[in-house]
Symmetry: C2
Subunit: 235 residues, 2 copies
């Protein structure tokens, strides 16, 4: 049996975003047959408590869930771990270090992709959950690379969060969620943004039409590409 | 932490079909929030040797790969296992029994769905790889439930296999693959088939337009629905 890297995917937060990430990982892999694709082990426990509630509203800590998932992936032999949930990255780097497993961070890979796209000194809008925005993990990451982060104003941010939970609910609310995302992007462009960094893997599912408003770097897509680069020894 | 069943998914054969199955599993789950979705652990090793070569052309046995995957899923705590690869089911029931893990069979669930759709005594066309067809796992399953199986003639079967490997290769050949699948379905209808049972999870990705030719039961869809029923205690 092969010694190729084994990709651990810590998913389930949420499940639709996780499934879409795996689809994207397969799509961006240069492959002409099954055997060219990465080996994957996935732990997807959607019973993890709500991440935003955990950070902002005194909800149950998700750290034990993250530890458990990372341990399962590590026990299964994962060479490194990725997680297609931005909000979880408020805690994940610390938990991964405690557990002793390598994390390929969605924040780092998305910020790198944004820098490559917009160039040094650019102004970047950030779409994310309340918790992702409140934690400032993206604003800090962008600023550390010389980029200027801009977050939606309070009204647009509230609309964006409604859109995120509509995507999680599935069904017939996806069109409305997409319309909200486009409206938030227009408001960011009006404030001088040259690129939008989508830092929520639920929003990744309703980005259709946003490219006509503003260039977008999608964190789920950036993580999928960085995962393939890591597997194939290019990063 | 919760005591809900943990679904083990033995995937990777191929990866696109596995990703599509997980998307479908999320879609068919009645849920309004992340926490309503099943807990999933997935082992997807696309380096498994080609299944058709293993059965028909003296290729390397895939049994050690199946054993390894089932053991990883069992070690991770899977309550039962599903695999969105029909050809692997030539071996999987035996391997699962040897390993001591419960298998929810795609063959059983798809044949049950076909019976429900076409009714007792119906004539059912089967789409699958050379190995799935040669092993007769579907023909036997349909006959055991009083249905009459019909498989494509040799020329159409050869075209179908080209379509399957085109899907595995991805890219711009999907349209052509879909056209082949529709042509095979027309040939089956001409031979008296009242329903097509798609017994290949790659073909699941190119079924658009087939419903205009003949009713279809898709094995990947049937397995996703049966998985949700099992998780929610309805089966």
């Amino acid at each position: 049996m092969t010694e190729a890297p084994l990709v651990g995917i810590l998913g389930g937060m949420g499940p639709a975003a996780t499934a879409a990430f795996y689809v994207r990982l397969v799509e961006v892999t240069p492959a002409s047959r099954d055997q060219d694709h990465p080996k994957v082990v996935m732990w997807a426990d959607p019973s993890v408590p709500d991440r935003t509630a955990a950070l902002l509203h005194g909800g149950e800590s998700i750290v034990p869930w993250l530890e458990r998932g990372l341990l399962r992936l590590s026990d299964a032999g994962a060479t490194f771990v990725v997680s297609p949930c931005n909000t979880a990255h408020v805690w994940l780097p610390d938990v991964a270090r405690d557990v002793g497993v390598e994390l390929l961070s969605i924040v780092d890979t998305a910020v790198d992709a944004a820098l490559e796209e917009v160039g040094s000194g650019g102004t970047v809008g950030v779409l994310g959950t309340h918790a992702t925005i409140a934690s400032a993990i993206y604003q800090d990451g962008l600023a550390a690379r010389g980029l200027t982060p801009v977050v939606p104003d309070a009204d647009h941010q509230a609309g964006l969060v409604r859109a995120i939970y509509a995507v999680k609910a599935g069904g017939d609310q996806l069109g409305e969620a997409g319309a909200i995302v486009r409206e938030v992007c227009r408001s960011l462009v009006a404030r001088g943004v040259g690129l939008v960094l989508n830092a929520c893997t639920e929003i990744s599912l309703v980005l259709d039409g946003v490219e006509q408003i503003v260039p977008v770097v999608d964190s789920s897509d950036a993580l999928a590409r960085a995962t393939v680069d890591r597997v194939q020894g290019r990063a």
